[in-house]
Symmetry: C2
């Protein structure tokens, strides 16, 4: 079982494994990469994962067999589990709760070799469809307060399986960084009576120099205070607290915006390792807190630099590439959302 523990100073929650912990020798070397033919996310290995929760597959193909286009399964080594009850308790001065939550894997494409930037708009729409269905389903569980969809690509970005996939973790507490963003949105709102993200869209459009890509519904840009070189934020132009409320037109536009942005990053950085995260408002908050004013968005972080002591100690990042320059490189490569490309 896992357990959630709260840091008494910063209110940060941490998931701690309580059953068999990793021993010192477990860390000595990185796990060997699985050969492609043994990949648990490839056709023919469906029985090596837990049974699928959601799937888009060829008509007539049976569950947990080949023939799928996108497939969602519970994580075999979950950080949090859906089974059990949520118990909150104190341990001396400290606070903890049981490790209730959900941890799912979205296997994005049957082709082991294909990276996200090789996907067609339709492939990406299917992936987004899986995100939406799973988020909306898990929202019904009243124990859960926040859902995070994220993607780790490459070993440096924390991926342990090479086959293109993303993950969803639903937590029974609002994670610290989400709360910080929510607080920031509310602070700006009470001072300016406007949404900080809506203002940021207008400001980036006005300056132009940090914009990477824009269509009717989405804009991607290298943020003014980028923590990392070539960091990109993707914002929906329609103010909505929650990704899971987007409509069909927006889903297509999002697929295009993600595709072009990722293709540009791939071309400029030669296939970088990266993380992305879909940040939405919490689904439930306690007491008087409000989440309606959040503006959901995607953060894309190429993993090009190492995080060192200074960053850990201060939360203060050193970024060697001005975002204006990064955006200019990204605008300069074709990346090519041109419809003729596929």
């Amino acid at each position: 079982m896992q357990e959630l523990r709260k840091d008494p100073v910063t209110d940060r929650w941490v998931i701690v494994s309580t059953e068999r912990g990793a021993r010192p020798t477990d860390f000595e070397s990185l796990p060997p990469r699985k050969a492609a033919q043994l990949c648990p996310f490839c056709y023919g290995f469906e029985s090596t994962t837990p049974p699928e929760i959601y799937c888009v597959r060829e008509a007539g193909s049976a569950p947990n067999t080949p023939g799928w286009y996108v497939r969602v399964v519970p994580n075999k080594f979950p950080a949090l589990r859906i089974e059990g009850s949520l118990v909150r308790e104190g341990v001396g001065m400290f606070d903890k709760m049981t490790g209730i939550g959900a941890h799912e894997v979205i296997i994005e494409h049957p082709d082991h070799q294909r990276r996200f930037w090789d996907f067609s708009v339709q492939d990406i729409e299917r992936v987004l469809g899986a995100y939406l269905q799973r988020t909306n389903d898990l929202k019904r569980d009243i124990r859960l307060r926040h859902m995070l969809v994220f993607k780790n690509e490459g070993e440096q970005a924390g991926a342990s399986v090479a086959h293109s996939h993303s993950q969803l973790i639903a937590t029974p507490v609002v994670p610290k960084r989400v709360r910080e963003k929510l607080d920031g949105v509310n602070r700006y709102l009470s001072y300016k009576e406007r949404c900080v993200y809506c203002d940021e869209i207008r400001e980036e459009q006005r300056f132009g120099e940090r914009v990477v890509f824009e269509n009717d519904s989405f804009i991607s840009f290298c943020p003014f205070a980028s923590r990392f070189p070539f960091e990109v934020t993707l914002l929906p132009k329609t103010h909505r607290p929650d990704f899971s409320a987007i409509d069909g037109t927006e889903r297509t536009a999002l697929a295009e915006a993600l595709r072009v942005t990722m293709r540009k990053l791939n071309e400029a950085l030669n296939g970088p390792q990266y993380n992305w995260i879909f940040l939405s408002a919490p689904t439930r908050l306690s007491g008087r807190e409000s989440w309606e004013d959040f503006h959901w968005h995607v953060e894309i972080i190429p993993r090009l630099t190492k995080i060192a002591g200074f960053e850990w100690g201060t939360g203060f990042y050193i970024n060697p590439t001005p975002p204006e320059q990064a955006a200019s490189y990204l605008r300069g490569v074709a990346g090519c959302g041109s419809p003729g490309l596929d």
Copy 2:
């Protein structure tokens, strides 16, 4: 020149390079390690660093020549510079300021091969002496608000030079994580009328199971909500906001506590890469804010796991090793602060 920029949502400050930015091709591969004979921190290469600011050396040896025991120089590629004036200004909706600050390198020992855990108590006392002298000197600069001493050991931990060294960065703003800790301390104080770190010391002594090492003045333990496997916090038993105020007895006790803790980590984890950070109260705050209630401490973080999308997105860490188990391993290895060891 570097520039400081503030994220409008989270109030996080970031240091952005504005002169020549790193281009996409700069990230393609890791820089090759320098061979030991070309190390800029070794005897005979003193002229390859900027001139020394502080040094403990053999009587009669000239500055910037061999004969030193510990040597502090400005960073050749500083994140922030002491020259210039601090200008704060707006750019549309955004905020920035000039990259004023200090970035120094503490070269801890002349021997290129010797890691921190090989140092004698006297070696460590000299390193701590350098930290103290530099912090107290920089405190006099009224533009600076916070000083962070940190150490990156190993490439995964962000070190670019293998020779044992640590760094000091002084910033003109209070970094986000420091402010969070300060806020947490004040929140606990106003609720309990006690220091949260003083309470934590008593609690860890009472439980015992997370304690790694203890002497008259210091205690090291794996914190209850450890973010990382084998993470260790080192706390002074005397409540003081600022590391730079410790006295001679405490300095010796700190050298011993650091030495034993690091030797234990080395023995248990087979020479891990790691970061440590010395966290003190800001030296200056604006307006009504108070810093007197902070309790300075050291965070030691072995770099055994990768930080992935989930952690970035949420500030929510998944730790595979219960801190009770990590502490038990660390207590179980000799590590050996025994005086006969050297």
